[in-house]
Symmetry: C4
Amino acid sequence: TRHTEETKENRELHIKTTLRELVIYIVFLVILCIVTFGMTSSTMYYYTKVMSELFLDGQFKDTKNTFRGMTTMHDFWRFAEGPLIDGLYWEKWYNGRNVSDDELGYIFYENKLLGVPRIRQLKVRNDSCTVHEDFANEIKACYDAYAETLEDQNSFGLMNGSAWTYQSEEELDGSGHWGLISSYAGGGFVQNLATTKAQSRHTIEVLKQNLWLDRGTRVIFIDFTVYNANINLFCVIRLLVEFPATGGAIPSWSFRTVKLIRYVTATDYFIMACEAIFILFILYYMVEEGLEIRKHKLSYFKSFWNILDILVIIIACCCAVFNIYRTIEVNDKLDTLLDQPDEYVDFESLSYWQVVFNSALAIMVFFAWVKVFKYISFNKTMTQLSSTLARCAKDLAGFAVMFFIIFLAFAQLGYLIFGTQVKDFSSFENAIFTLFRIILGDFNFHELEQANRVLGPIYFILYVFFVFFVLLNMFLAIINDTYSEVKADISSQKNEFEVADYFKKGYQK
Amino acid sequence: TRHTEETKENRELHIKTTLRELVIYIVFLVILCIVTFGMTSSTMYYYTKVMSELFLDGQFKDTKNTFRGMTTMHDFWRFAEGPLIDGLYWEKWYNGRNVSDDELGYIFYENKLLGVPRIRQLKVRNDSCTVHEDFANEIKACYDAYAETLEDQNSFGLMNGSAWTYQSEEELDGSGHWGLISSYAGGGFVQNLATTKAQSRHTIEVLKQNLWLDRGTRVIFIDFTVYNANINLFCVIRLLVEFPATGGAIPSWSFRTVKLIRYVTATDYFIMACEAIFILFILYYMVEEGLEIRKHKLSYFKSFWNILDILVIIIACCCAVFNIYRTIEVNDKLDTLLDQPDEYVDFESLSYWQVVFNSALAIMVFFAWVKVFKYISFNKTMTQLSSTLARCAKDLAGFAVMFFIIFLAFAQLGYLIFGTQVKDFSSFENAIFTLFRIILGDFNFHELEQANRVLGPIYFILYVFFVFFVLLNMFLAIINDTYSEVKADISSQKNEFEVADYFKKGYQK
Amino acid sequence: TRHTEETKENRELHIKTTLRELVIYIVFLVILCIVTFGMTSSTMYYYTKVMSELFLDGQFKDTKNTFRGMTTMHDFWRFAEGPLIDGLYWEKWYNGRNVSDDELGYIFYENKLLGVPRIRQLKVRNDSCTVHEDFANEIKACYDAYAETLEDQNSFGLMNGSAWTYQSEEELDGSGHWGLISSYAGGGFVQNLATTKAQSRHTIEVLKQNLWLDRGTRVIFIDFTVYNANINLFCVIRLLVEFPATGGAIPSWSFRTVKLIRYVTATDYFIMACEAIFILFILYYMVEEGLEIRKHKLSYFKSFWNILDILVIIIACCCAVFNIYRTIEVNDKLDTLLDQPDEYVDFESLSYWQVVFNSALAIMVFFAWVKVFKYISFNKTMTQLSSTLARCAKDLAGFAVMFFIIFLAFAQLGYLIFGTQVKDFSSFENAIFTLFRIILGDFNFHELEQANRVLGPIYFILYVFFVFFVLLNMFLAIINDTYSEVKADISSQKNEFEVADYFKKGYQK
Amino acid sequence: TRHTEETKENRELHIKTTLRELVIYIVFLVILCIVTFGMTSSTMYYYTKVMSELFLDGQFKDTKNTFRGMTTMHDFWRFAEGPLIDGLYWEKWYNGRNVSDDELGYIFYENKLLGVPRIRQLKVRNDSCTVHEDFANEIKACYDAYAETLEDQNSFGLMNGSAWTYQSEEELDGSGHWGLISSYAGGGFVQNLATTKAQSRHTIEVLKQNLWLDRGTRVIFIDFTVYNANINLFCVIRLLVEFPATGGAIPSWSFRTVKLIRYVTATDYFIMACEAIFILFILYYMVEEGLEIRKHKLSYFKSFWNILDILVIIIACCCAVFNIYRTIEVNDKLDTLLDQPDEYVDFESLSYWQVVFNSALAIMVFFAWVKVFKYISFNKTMTQLSSTLARCAKDLAGFAVMFFIIFLAFAQLGYLIFGTQVKDFSSFENAIFTLFRIILGDFNFHELEQANRVLGPIYFILYVFFVFFVLLNMFLAIINDTYSEVKADISSQKNEFEVADYFKKGYQK
Ligand SMILES: [Ca+2]
């Protein structure tokens, strides 16, 4: 974006350089879109769907409950003995015939289970909190909500084997996890399952009979990774059951479908070529922006567009570096895996970073699209519209502040009144999201009413009246007024030399 | 807010005092937020959720129905024999082993059942209403809808024990309850359950075999309280089944998760300190406002901001007083409880007042936030926006009156036409809420259509056309017009000395 | 409304008469509200709910399906043998004991079954349509969709008893019914059930074994009425299963909760008094409007308010007449019933007219509320708002015409493209309602997409863009512009003598 | 539309011709509506509903799952052995009696199954993709996603019969199908079912026992057609189960209810007459437009209304031609069918074209309605409104471009971030539709939040703020401003001679 500022005197030259810049930018954007769209496909969604339905919607044998609906510790064992084992080991065809040895170890007959699944639990000590003096005689043990410092690291139960003795995060080479209720460390009591159905069932039975889960248990992880060679995708699966200090069980899960091995088919190599071109573009922009920074010094950073440029470049660099790291790391893991097929292999953190990488790239593309607006004002209507938005930005921002003070006051009120009863108000963030959703018309009035039959409806009606009927209309009033002004201003200006004229002129020559 | 009015001549001084006031106010607000946010936590929601899922979603053994879906008297017994007993007494681990004696009496192995649960019913007399003369020969008994004056207080059935003889509200030391259909007195026929599963099951069986519930029964309460020492929370549970005079059963419930013992952990003591500071602030504001009232007399009450101040102070005082009462009362109850562990202990009304206390505090915080707007007009954009809102307030209020006349006319029409068929129109209030929800897009058109195939759609379309298409836009028109006026007014004024200038000046020195 | 026109010269006098008129009108409105609110109560909704849940949500023994989910002829028998019989005859208490003889014949032990239920079917002839010549050899019988002229009136099956021989509408003293698929006549093949469970079950078994329902059957009605003496309400129940010519079964139902015996309790007599006063008011207004008509002749009918007056009076008169007819008719029916308790008694048409009566009254109240606007412009803000609405009415109506042309074009397009697949577009009316609901955000995009993967999304996006983004905003533009005009006009007028001044003056005297 | 341009001088004459044109046009429109409304009826929806509920909602015997909920290969066999066979062959009445021979072969006793159903599968080769070298030793077979070039055409299993040997699209006289995951060719391995339940069950059992479906199977089709003589409608049914390369099963379906035999009843012949008149109209318009094109040459195509005329004429011609083709083709098929009742008859592509025909006609009617706007500006209000829309069209289009750039940037961002987790963002198109639906308030926030707990809510709030709060209001600002302008312009013009005047004048004569 070097030339833009310098050539204001000569409008024709200015348009010429703008157009050249625009053409280059469009090529850049096309390459970028190819790279990112090449990165994902609908197949990835179907993979996630198929795997998650298998484990989350499989019914328990007796209660017909599912993993999603789990509410007690007992349900965990029902899940482990039923849908988990049945989902992991497909040893028979639909007509009852055993699958051949070659076909063993594939979920849905298609998805290779990499290594063996691992079950891990974390516990807290029975003296991790203080019982109020009135109850001190009655209540002997107190298990606080999970915190790393409160972890119970003592062996228990059978006292032997990894299931009954604690291993630290370093020993397990694990990583932390941000659960629904708390953040958990990477250590704990660990039990690997086997490669056959019968053995795994036995392992689980032993754990259950010896009360592996007890009052101190705060979370249990089930981790495994599957690989589908047909479509060259990994699905890294973590099933999580949190046991809050309140009793009961809260299930959650992550199914990360990632393409860890990137270059296999012909299409993959085409994407690779585009990535190379993209890197060249980034180098070109780095040089250009570098020159500009040297020239304009600090004033460079006052332009919104320049900051956008810098952001895009930084994200691109990080992504490139990660791409290299990923390739090395995956090779490493696979080597280990192929040597020891009966061991657990941890793809958890690798898949996490891959998802971060994808998100970063996605955000970069979004910024790149926003930058198109820099070049868009090539005819009068467009100028009029974009300058309306630009001019009312300050007023809108000012009003947004006022709007959000009221909004947050309502959110806090809702959180404090309904927080203990209604999921949508169970935390301050949730209350904010819920109030946004009310504006769009997506909410559950009956829950609010049930939580508090007097304040619920009053709260709802006041909110709708003040925010939906009154405040929201201020946004419109601001935009409407600014548009009228801008239109009046522009119609009073003399016509400037426009892009359209440039083309017309070129055509007439 | 003393100085604001006096110093209009000297704008610089005015800004200085305003800024000082603002800083003090922000400190006050921060303290207030700490106190209220310290009062609640997401754990409370999880506690409510876990306990309510246990009792409300547990399936009956034969019909697979749940408490939520209860429709007949028979369902009540199915519930009592199944999910209620199973939910209250956890005497076995998931592997079938009995829990140790220390661990007996804990729901989910974590939540101590305080005392024993109590079942209570209220009946009406069989001559509580007049049968129309045409049916007088056919229909011998008539049981009216519940009203305290119609209560049947005669012993019945086995004629012995509290289950079969009436006790008044005073004898039971109970309190009334506002149900879905009616408000109920605190007396009735009462049966306490036992501390073991087998005994409780037997008690329920005896009641069922002797037709404890009959045509006169209008409501049945199941009350108990659990305490979780891990997180220091009480959950006061009331399950309610109303038997309307129409036949059938209408279940409802309240799960009140409250922190009755407030100061146990270190964090609790930090909150206590903040509460002390808060009390000091309130004293400071009381003195200040007192001085102002003395000075301005009645004209003091003409300012919206002053009334807000008064409201905040009054609520704060009430809350402080309740805080003391709660501490004494809880101690009292717990002493009784620990002496007689086999008795029922009533936390119902205590928890009710605790919820009122929380709500009052929440509303106070909301008012405190609204007062921020008093200080907000420190730059031109803000002034412009806030004076737009202030100036159109009168017109908006005027239009709101007209809007609500039409609105209420529609609500009454909907109530009278669809009231007997559609839940959303089953009472006048419900009709009002439903019409509000239609504006936001949350409604069930098919129910309306099914209730009346001709008037349903016509009503819906007329309402949407007149209220959504036409009237709602008047709000916008009013705001839009006022904004244009205000903007024109302000741009014609000379620039006043602003807060920004004040800082600039200070900076230049 | 006599004086309004005449006294324009003397504004003070005008205000005085307006105020007097207003006060009288408010008294009238209050009486009217008492009458109508006295007519309905939430109990009526609960009654409908309890009865409909009993019959519509009772599960079949084997398939666990319900009346609502019925899809085949076989399902009808499952319903008749299960939920219907169990719902009609409550011969045991929840503990298995038989109910006493006095208590026999009550649904939910509370609701007297009046007479016996009746099952009625209508059939079409097997030559009611022409088979296309190509299939003439293959397909011998053709049963058209139901029409009264195509009815099969021949005896069939066992050939004896009312179940197997046709009775006409006159013989049965029945009335037609407007079903989902067609309108049905009041005759048919009729089978009354018995007063005991065992007998009724046998009756149904005989019908089933002899193929009472066959290919020609187009509809089956189950009719009965229950009376609850506790709350003095009748519930007239009709369960309907239509068998369209396509095969399959379409269930529908009506539960009409009506108060056929009106004056029993003290409250009823208070309402009666109000009704008397209301009649007096109506007489007063009749005289007044009569005088005005005589005076102004045809020009009287040019005023919107006068037409409203006439409407209110006409509806009031009709309702009064019906009220008398109802009282007589109900007495008649009940006499028959008490004489012959084993016969079917038809409350169907009586309850229908009662519902019409209620609706008419409801609409009258709505008109009465609208008339309040005639008196509302007593201060400047109100005048400004109401004259904005009045002035933009013409433009709005003009635009509404344009809007609805586009709207109907979209509705027809949707009906023709998606009509065969999507319920929401299955008829032209449904398409109109659906498009309205899309504007409010209540719709099912996935159904549209599934019906036609190309045209579905295109249709949806075009509709939203043109109607929601563009056309809807025209309503706002019209209102906004008119409001600005009116405000400018009014602020340029000199202040008129207002109601507020009138009070002020009165106060100063 | 010949005369419109020529007669501008004489306004009165102009109005006269306009009125004549309008009257003719209204007749045309009425005829067109009769033709199209005569083409469809609510019965068609009921037919689709009844047939789809039968096959899609029938429960499997053991798992109680349905076709809609199918997730594994095993589920396919559960469906084939249960709901499919039970739905196709109705050999018993509800009381257990066998149906007579005449009545055999009718679904719901009403719908003749034409020929026999056919099951067809498509497979891919086991070397259709490359396994990454690291896994080459472990994973021997690789089955790619379906593509026509990767089809496995080798015989397998029992090696005999059409079920085990490949037939090409030409041999089967089939056609391709656009599935959810891929587009499929018309060839494959084919198995016809029999005309009796027992035989068909046996056929399916043989396929299942010999592993007819294996890892290579990518899709399975079940095709059959039923004909209902009562209502003269065909329902062409295709049930589809896709087995993606990820494992699992994705069911889909099409139920095309079409009227292939058009002229049977008296009403049909009335429609036929209307169609003839319609053809005459089209010929008249063809001539007229031809004359205009000859006169105005290329400038003819600059008018929006002329292009609309051309479009209507072209669609009408195509439809007329198809109508003739359909009649011939159906006769042909039916002859084949009646000769060989045990063969499969393919109505698939015929029904597809019939649906295209219906859609084309529907679109034509929509265009015809839009043309009404050409004649609508016959009074001042209408002129004002339609010229507002016309004048702001350019600005709206300009802004729509800007709007959609931001919109698409958000869609791409959503697709890339949430695409692997959330169905609503699983493809770029879905993301676009989802963002549209968010504006209307129809979305699932919780899914977004679960997919990414940080970016989900941020994305949602940014989208709502920028697009719903800000950009959407620009549409309104543009329309509002233009309306004010137009109103000002028109009120400054002198009153033109209007249609109303024309009528007034005619009346005065
Ligand atoms: Ca909405």
